[in-house]
Amino acid sequence: MTDLVDLLISGLVYGSIITVGAIGLTLMSDILDFFNFAYGDFFTLGAFTTLAFLSVVPGQGTFAGLSFGWSMVLAVLLAALVTVMVMLAFDYLFFRRLRNMGVSSLFMSIASLGVSFIIRSIIFMIWGPKVRYYSSEVQLSKEFLGISIRPDNLFILLSSLLLVAAVYYFLKSSRIGKALRSVSDNKALAQASGMQPSLMIMCTWIICGILAGVGGTLFGIQVQLNPNMGWNFLIPMFVAVIMGGIGSFWGALIGGMTIGITEELVTGLIQNLVTAMELQINVSAYKPAVAFIFVIVILLLRPYGLFGKPQFNLKR
């Protein structure tokens, strides 16, 4: 039983990192109307800029049993700011021009693939291919309410929950958030009612930049910093977006959590079953495959995703 709780926590942590990324990605895919393949590398950029700031901001040392101190919070905020700036710069120099030329979504997506290579190369040039960690200390698990958990994991869960709630509140209640949602519902109508597309696009980039900056850092805390981390993480994020339905906040949330929990918990259950049947199969090495089979089943039942608008994956 404790086994399953361990796996559930592990899955929740993984899922919450995917969710933070997937919410940004789903907003971007919907409002900017293309799949931004560079998003994963913005994720990496966020993680590495946090590392850079971590050594210069005040508040070093450790705090409340975490493997890092207050400096992490400051560093993350600065890193999110840098990520937003870089995103806006790329939009101004590049995506804006393409948009004004009226190119298709497909072309924009391919262009973003190019941007992803540029960003990754810059990261390789600055930080090199070596794997890094925020803290060189191994953190031992502690008991909370009878559950053994690492304080860092708790931090990841809480901060992603906070961030997701903040984004939800923003979309739901603020003027700009409402405008964004109306653009998502019907672009032509929104434009006709006087919404400024350029302002909407800028807001999207800003929200996504913050999510990428923080999400990348959370990934770095949980695993490691690696110049390819965001690129590799793009697959679970995209799958969460597609499974939840493009443009859907709740879809991204549930999609992300589902993938995280399935990979850890469901694979664990299958492994127990296989072991009980005395079969010599290592299901554990095929975690992603197990999660993706699950996703395929969901998409077969609902091709436009759990919360998607039916027109999205069908011919428009």
Partner: protein, 424 residues
Amino acid sequence: MRKRVFVLSLLFMFICGSLMLPGCGTEESSSGDGGVAVEEGGEITIGALLPMSGDLADYGQNVQKGVNLAVKQINEAGGPLGKKLKVVFRDCQSEPTALRDGAEKLVNVDKVPAIIGPMIRLDVATPVASANHVVLISPSNTPTWVTTLDDDDYTFRTTASDAIQGQVLGQQAWDCGYKTAAILYINDPYGGGLAESTTVSFEKLGGKVLGTAAYDPGEVAYRMQLNELAKGDPDVLILIAYPESGVVIIREALSAGLFDQFMFPDGMQSTQIIEDVGGDFLEGMYGTGPGAAETPSYATYLDDYQAEYGEKPATAYTENAYDGVVAIALAIAAAGEEAFEADPGMAIRDNLRVVCNPPGEEINAGVEEFKKAFQMIADGTAINYEGAAGSIDFDEYGDTVTPILIWKIENGDIVPVKSVLAEQ
């Protein structure tokens, strides 16, 4: 308008291409004009296919130093047939696709007759090389199946097979006093083969492997495998991994309190793991790797390496790569004019055993020895290269039996304990 978009996109693709830093770029220029690599004009170019980025970047970058040292010394000794030896490096990014691409470029673009590398996955590079009569000498590809690759005898390695390493790893686990063990291995041909030979060896001595699990590199969490393996409370976790994911696994196992005793094979023989895990959690842990016995050849190599780079080799396999380059250079010298004719690759292949295997005068590492070797080859005297990594005697499959090193982590450093020469 359309046209402008098209031109822009082309321009963009070009910029992206040239910016792709970890790409398959040539790191050191070859003979320049591209033509046939074995030139009459005083230069002989061979290739090196190493992981300069990705999971094995740490190894690749150090092994490159071993290769460069060998090239420098061979040239100081006058070079094979009085010609200058050069190496073209290509990055295989620790990835099979890039590896195949790199092998094809070395064979078809650089037109080299022999290649040092790849460090892993000879099965990917062999079909490209052997079909084009190019010799491959891997410094580190240890799996057992390398022995039986269909390679037309073009594939060699200067390290021992995992059948031997597994035997020593299992033996060492038993000698450390562990009675039960769990094995976690990377889900690739290297991990699977080594896990199997280690299990056989450990259980033959009376130990018991309580659980074996595989992992996929780059995962976010390895909790599932670790929980599974901790059942029955085994004495030690034998972690057959590479540092990048290996460190994440060790940290997770430690923080969850599931394991505190580890043993490692060659894949983890890197000071990086001690630094990245942090603290002194790994203090006193043992591991195995390729390890030269304390021969004069190895002592010379270590001195020369230290003199050249101001440090001792930071990862394993630098001496194995060094031996590979030397073997090729000596084979070129022994082949004589044949090394410049229609099929230089075949000439090198046919002469590798001539210069490396007994009988013949023993030649050790170092500039002076190489001078002597070139002179003796010119005189028609038989030689037998005794490498830095081992005696480098290629059997009928292109395999060598090099000693296995047992190492220990002491005061935050990897310290050699002893060298074991196992029987195949």
